[in-house]
Symmetry: C2
């Protein structure tokens, strides 16, 4: 993983600015559709500056963008994400997810799209992105595990399978928001996922 | 849409062979990660032959691949896809989907991945791919609409929202089969989607 520890405060801020602007370009065009020249032009950065902050070029940038996008999307799900152990928290989480993705152009999930696109061309980078997705899933699984322990889910409920189901609904809903240019598929997908969760209540 | 009407039988067969081989390459590497040279090499085709069958080059090929992949995946869901108006048919459909995707490398959904990748770089082609997805959804919606008419779903059930939820579960489950290299996310996603459908029964 890239670290900003080796830069001055000013340098770290410049690097963060480049990552944020490049993230938007990659979101709109895909990793394959975005060249380093596009990123230089879009961020007003010179070639030497870009390689100063990202010595391995696009590979370093892609890794930094994946971290940045993950933090952004996790933050948008807080505080619910950390307390998914009541039905109220799950409803709040659903609303926060819809509000976050409803407030921006329908670009799908930046993390899922990167993982899917990279897996064929750069498996190492794809694995890094998949690790971010696993971390995201971890919050859902932790909540469901606590709910089962508290008796809000039946003893035979499987937190792992339910986590995969909710996360698949989220990712698939986001893919369809992109192809249909509407938030409705995400709403329908999350509503159905929460219905399925509640079917595991005692 | 490309047509094969202008080719001889032999020509149409050659074209179909190129599309099938190119489809596998694009599935593994993405549209952006596959060049026409890759396709020439992978299909043993000359440049002039490729442009004879696909005058607009990669754009024509991508359109042909999307049609081919859609037919292949719809065929794998038959006969259930045409008769999704009983709970038994939905269970059969779920099993057919799992058997189809479980029997091949975990490449995700060829249609969803193409739509997502193309939307930033080639909106016109992306809309064609999205139309294939809409056709696929149409079979699910038709079944659910008939189930509601037959009283197997409540009168207040919304076939459109349920269709989006099932299709999102399928697409998201497939994305996760790719990033996690396991069929389990797809199984969990489809099981939860069918649980949500059954929650709309009277």
């Amino acid at each position: 993983m890239s670290s900003t520890a080796k830069f001055t405060v000013k340098g770290a801020l410049t690097r963060a600015r480049i990552v944020e602007a490049a993230a938007d370009l990659v979101l709109a065009r895909g990793v394959g559709g975005t060249t380093l020249d596009d990123i230089r032009a879009g961020t007003g950065t010179s070639k030497s500056q870009l390689f100063h902050y990202f010595p391995a070029g696009k590979r370093d940038l892609v890794a930094a963008i994946a971290s940045f996008q993950t933090e952004r999307v996790l933050q948008a799900q807080r505080p619910f994400l950390d307390t998914l152990d009541t039905w109220e928290a799950w409803e709040g989480w659903r609303d926060a997810v819809l509000a976050h993705y409803g407030s921006q152009p329908h670009w799908g999930c930046p993390i899922g799209a990167m993982a899917s696109e990279l897996i064929g061309s750069d498996p190492e980078r794809a694995a890094e992105v998949a690790a971010h997705m696993a971390r995201w899933c971890g919050y859902l699984r932790a909540g469901l595990t606590r709910m089962r322990a508290a008796g809000l889910l039946r003893a035979d409920a499987d937190p792992e399978a339910l986590t995969l189901a909710v996360f698949a609904a989220l990712q698939g809903g986001l893919l369809l928001t992109q192809t249909m240019q509407s938030i409705e598929p995400l709403r329908a997908a999350l509503d159905a996922a929460l219905t399925a969760l509640r079917a595991s209540a005692p």
